[in-house]
Symmetry: C2
Subunit: 204 residues, 2 copies
């Protein structure tokens, strides 16, 4: 029988990886459809808002990577125990996404001079600003980003980390011991460990 | 007794207005704290990631405007009836937020030449691309953005609309009859109608 879920994306980790982590964590079967960059011009018009990842399920297409991660987090029970916890988790996920977008504005800039002008402020101001605050939160939450326990906020951050490191050409968490703890808490989960060891190799 | 909720923001609609709509819809009491722009340098360091709106409740500060809107949407029962509906709602909310960000990249650009260079692509490509697709979705959902019924995705879009119109100096929904229907479906709700008539006046 065909899997219930198909996840369509470029052959990279990036925005699809949080959802892949959650699917693997829950042992949920899915088709991990990876297309080559040359195929994108043909595929793009078939996607709801011209973007991927897209989740296909029940004959429909669902886009927006955070929405689909939240959907699977509910299924694998990595959401909060009440609406207050979910508020805390959701706010951390959107904060990590803010950080991701601030990095992307630098990393994806095509004009070399503009890109260079953005490097200093990103590296010397934005990254320390976010990472220091996230590290403090991780300390207060005992190696987690929210609610003092393992939630999909941890998965979201750790699954995106390779992509964030790739874009910044750095190891963002190296100097932050509590963020290292968040990372280790996720990567030491057997199902995640196995996935990371066996997943298709990609730079980002 | 002091209200349970305090919402702190600039004296504008913008990112706080979806949450204000939801609070008003549910008849939930809250302190609508609006500070002047001159106060921002003093206030900014007291906010979790240097951003507002911030929700104060239970002695804690919660940031991220979409996270707080979702929190109140649960309370006032404008979320989906199951996780599939919530996936659809969440994906529409994040899509409207994508549109908001694409507009902001143009609107907040300080360099006049760069801003002008972004105007054509935004007005002639990005806006029609998003609005045509959102209008089609609104048609399929009978004057709503998700699940064929009133949800907080409608509230999120309509409450942001003044801000989006301000940034683009246009009436974004004028040509799109199904998005006009979404707007009317929200603005005709008595509690929302009353709030819109009595709320503090602001450009954005």
């Amino acid at each position: 029988m065909a899997p219930v879920y198909k996840l369509t994306y470029f052959p990279v980790k990036a925005l699809a990886e949080p959802t892949r982590f959650l699917l693997k964590y829950g042992g949920l079967e899915f088709e991990d459809e990876r297309f080559e960059r040359e195929q994108w011009p043909q595929i793009k018009p078939t996607m709801p808002f011209g973007q991927v990842p897209v989740l296909s399920a029940k004959g429909k297409q669902y886009h927006q990577s955070i929405a689909m991660a939240r959907f699977f987090a509910k299924q694998v029970k990595l959401v909060g125990s009440d609406e207050w916890e979910d508020l805390e988790i959701d706010s951390m996920v959107d904060t990590v996404n803010d950080l991701r977008q601030k990095i992307a504005v630098y990393s994806y800039e095509q004009d070399a001079a503009i890109k260079e002008s953005r490097k200093g402020p990103l590296m010397n101001e934005t990254l320390p600003y976010y990472l220091e605050r996230l590290d403090k939160i991780a300390k207060e939450n005992n190696g987690h980003l929210a609610c003092g326990k393992l939630t999909w906020a941890d998965f979201y951050f750790v699954a995106l980390l390779d992509y964030l490191n790739y874009m910044t050409e750095s190891d963002l968490t190296a100097k932050y011991e509590n963020l290292e703890a968040v990372k280790n808490n996720v990567l030491s989960i057997p199902a995640i460990k196995e996935w990371v060891e066996t997943r298709p190799k990609s730079d980002l």
